[in-house]
């Protein structure tokens, strides 16, 4: 092979590998991204059941029921709409009524939400960024209410995430 054809071969191999990688990325992106929705958005947009979502809002006061320590039910609200959530697992340390929360899981046919991970804010000061914005839209947020919304999440998951 000449120098030139070798170089050409090398470059086409490289492009091939990169092409495959780009394909992988695009395929995975189209398949695995999860959208963030607030309860009002779910109500307004008629999100179809079975969709994987991140649901964010406040834990509605007085709605947290713990059945046997691991089965938990609560309602997420943003003032505009409520979504009942069922979760099996241990809640994060800072999960509290009236506080911000982000749950990831699947919307059920009956409008409830089955969460497989629940994230609460990470520090007394902080509120998940998405929740802050969702609440702002609903006019439920006053600037500075929770201090800087430096959002730091501590997931509590049922499965080992890796």
């Amino acid at each position: 092979m000449t120098r030139k054809s070798r170089r050409l071969l090398l470059i086409s191999c490289a492009l091939g590998v990169l092409g495959i990688a780009a394909g992988l990325v695009l395929f995975a992106l189209s398949d695995t991204i999860v959208f963030f929705r607030s309860p009002s958005e779910i109500a307004a947009q008629h999100v179809s059941p079975g969709t994987r979502l991140r649901l964010g809002g406040l834990v509605k006061d007085g709605t947290v029921e713990k059945a046997d320590g691991t089965h938990v039910r609560f309602v997420v609200t943003d003032g505009g709409a409520d979504v009942p959530v069922a979760y099996i697992g241990i809640l994060p340390d800072l999960f509290r009524e009236g506080q911000g929360v982000v749950a990831e899981g699947v919307l059920q046919a009956d409008g409830s939400f089955r969460a497989d991970s629940v994230l609460a804010k990470h520090d007394e000061k902080y509120m998940p960024k998405e929740v802050v914005e969702a609440l702002k839209k609903q006019g439920k947020w006053q600037e500075g209410e929770g201090g800087a919304p430096a959002p730091a999440l501590l997931p509590g998951r049922t499965s080992s995430a890796n």
């Binding site: 398949d31 340390d93 800087a148 997931p155 509590g156």
Partner: protein
């Protein structure tokens, strides 16, 4: 007086860095030896001033000097001494100071140990380094000054974020920064060489020890961060594809590619343009990581600060350095001479494939990390790119990397004999298949991918051993000769073998942990028990305790394995009083390479507590593998030929018959 001395030292360091940025380059331009000599002297002085500033900050923390705003905001007089020290860098301002400290120390090392470098290259390298230092010092002084004062001083501080009150904080950030910032040296080398327009095989030789050192630190730093998150965050995961983790993983991929392509450049004078580009990319990705973490654009545990002024400032640094260096690269790269040629099947070919896949992985992580940010900026849609994306893309890209790994070191330079290499790897391959079959038989109904993963891991480990055996001629020459050869092999050969085997070990851990972990989430009362894996856990008691700056409730479990007592494990919930913030301290017991992991949940209404218990077989191999990898890097580094700073007087040079760093049948 101490804080102000530190503050002044920091300001002086900026002045020194400005001179260091200008004078040596001027010297190199005018070929003035005296001016070039100023570079190393200033680099040492810079390191001295930064060390002084950092020491002053640590002293302020140790003394609980709440007249320093930073101390007031991140410390508490009742914290144990070790956390008082570590909280100096457990916050935005302090960690940036640590960043610059590491930068200064690396610069001083180049100044002191780079005696084998050409004077001009060295002067330019130090100047480029200084320009990075100037940018970050300005950032610190203008937006994140750790020496701002408070008067009157408050009586008590606001405490360190409890999640950070852990010994992991003492280790993880410094190691990670040693890695990140270490790539600033390779970056400086690349830019200096581009400025000078001279890039040849010798350049690769000079760069490689720095790349290796940075890579080894980064490897351990990432592993420590992973372990820290694993035991501190309390839900048993060890890698979350959190943007901050990704930020450290991207430079790792680029750095791994760099240490491999630098070998090709050194041995064959090929891949020059590519290697220089990688050196720039590795540091650019480190900067990007710093930006992502420091600007607070991400949703993450590590986002200490959300100050847009800071974000914009770092973004400007990012644009200036990445844009500037890539621009210079575009200008100069076409002028570089073509290097040696090689066949697709050859050592070079294998390394090119490795490079392609590693950079593709870095790109995949890059896209996954930044796509949500870009999309949100574009149309406001909020999405998450979660673990499935990363597992899928990076996982698939890594499989060929891992599979080809044993072939690389066995292939000859220029033109390799793939059939011959395959033959030599036959034994390793056969054993790996056996291991996979054994697993498939043994696990009876476990995940189908597990046997394949274990087989792959076994292939890599056995393959790297095969490489050593081949080098020694084991089985072809008399045992005594083989033994002598084995002992005579350069440390770099062992380094390569260990680094590759480390990947296999890590892979073993990952496959075992993901395939065969057992998990229990139950509510449990005192005296009751549950089983996880082979272990029975009984809740012995729940007791309140008091720590220096927290109160906690501890649950003590008795562990039994088949009725045999295996001691206890304790998990607790801590309430840090100053911030009124609870944390969970998980209880971990290591049995063999596996770990029993217990994490305590809320107390239940009807008495008892909720717990999460895991049995994670071979999980420690994940981090041990990384440590083995890094140790391989250090071993290569200690190879006589690459040893930094060994002066090369003529006599020693003649005797220096050290073998190649990635020893090979010659070119």
């Amino acid at each position: 007086m101490i804080p102000e001395t530190g503050h002044f030292a920091l300001v002086l360091a900026l002045a020194v860095a400005l001179l260091q940025m200008v004078l040596p380059v001027w010297g190199a331009r005018t070929n003035d030896a005296a001016l070039m000599r100023v570079g190393p002297a200033l680099a040492v002085a810079f390191a001295g001033f930064i060390s002084l500033a950092f020491a002053a900050l640590v002293a302020a923390y140790v003394q609980s000097d709440f007249s320093v705003l930073n101390v007031y905001q991140n410390s508490h007089s009742e914290m144990p001494l070790i956390y008082k020290i570590t909280s100096a860098w457990g916050n935005h301002e302090g960690s940036m100071l640590l960043w610059v400290l590491v930068l200064g120390l690396f610069g001083a090392m180049v100044a002191l140990f780079g005696s084998n470098l050409p004077q001009r290259l060295k002067a330019n390298v130090l100047a480029v380094q200084a320009s990075v230092a100037v940018a970050f010092l300005l950032f610190i002084l203008l937006t994140s000054n750790p020496f701002l004062r408070l008067s009157p001083a408050p009586a008590e501080g606001q405490d360190l974020n409890p999640v950070l009150q852990d010994i992991g904080l003492a280790i993880h950030p410094p190691l990670l920064y040693l890695g990140y910032v270490g790539f600033s040296i390779t970056f400086a080398f690349a830019v200096a060489a581009l400025i000078d327009g001279r890039i040849d095989a010798a350049w690769a030789r000079w760069v490689r020890p720095w790349a290796l050192a940075a890579w080894a630190f980064l490897t351990v730093g990432i592993a420590m961060g992973s372990y820290w998150a694993y035991y501190e965050l309390g839900w048993g995961g060890w890698w979350f594809w959190d943007p901050v983790e990704n930020a450290s993983l991207m430079p790792w991929f680029a750095g791994t590619a760099l240490i491999h392509s630098a070998v090709v450049m050194e041995k064959r004078d090929a891949l020059k343009v590519w290697t220089v580009l990688l050196a720039i990319l590795a540091f650019s990705l480190s900067l990007l990581g710093t930006f992502l973490v420091r600007s607070g654009v991400l949703t993450s545990v590590h986002a200490f600060a959300t100050d847009p002024a800071r974000g914009v400032f770092i973004l400007m640094i990012l644009v200036a350095f990445i844009g500037g260096s890539l621009g210079l690269f575009a200008l100069r790269a076409p002028m570089l001479r073509q290097g040696g040629i090689f066949a697709p099947v050859s050592r070079e070919g294998a390394l090119v494939l490795n490079n392609l896949l590693l950079t593709a992985s870095a790109a995949a992580v890059f896209v996954g990390t930044l796509y949500p940010l870009a999309l949100e900026a574009w149309n406001g849609a909020k999405i998450t790119v979660g673990p499935p994306y990363f597992n899928f893309t990076v996982g698939l890209l890594m499989v060929p990397v891992v599979f080809v790994m044993p072939f690389g070191p066995l292939l000859a330079w220029k033109r390799g004999d793939i059939a011959g290499v395959a033959q030599r790897l036959m034994a390793a391959f056969g054993l790996a298949i056996l291991a996979g079959l054994a697993v498939a038989y043994g696990q009876a109904g476990g995940p189908a991918l597990a046997p394949i993963g274990i087989g792959l891991a076994a292939f890599v480990i056995l393959g790297s051993v095969t490489d050593l055996a081949e080098r020694a001629g084991l089985g072809r020459v008399p045992a005594a000769t083989a033994w002598a050869r084995l002992r005579g092999l350069p440390r770099a050969a062992y380094g390569t073998m260990l680094a590759h085997a480390g990947i296999g070990i890590c892979l073993l851990g990952i496959v075992a942990e993901t395939s065969w972990s057992s998990e229990r989430i139950v509510g449990i009362k005192t005296g009751e028990g549950t089983t996880v894996g082979r272990y029975e856990l009984t809740l012995e008691r729940v007791e309140p305790r008091t720590g220096p700056n927290y109160r906690d409730v501890a649950a003590v479990f008795r562990i039994r394995e088949g009725g045999v007592d295996r001691g206890t494990v304790t998990s607790s919930k801590r309430l840090f009083t100053a911030r009124n913030m609870p944390t969970t301290e998980s209880g971990i017991r290591t049995f063999g390479f596996g770990q029993l992991y217990v994490s305590m949940g809320d107390e239940l209404a009807g008495g008892g507590i909720g717990i999460r218990a895991y049995w994670k077989p071979l999980v420690t191999l994940i981090w041990l593998g990384a440590v083995v990898m890094a140790f391989g890097g250090v071993l290569s580094l200690s190879d006589r030929r690459l040893r930094i700073g060994a002066p090369r007087p003529a006599r020693a040079r003649r005797n220096a018959d050290a073998a190649p760093a990635n020893p090979a049948p010659a070119e």
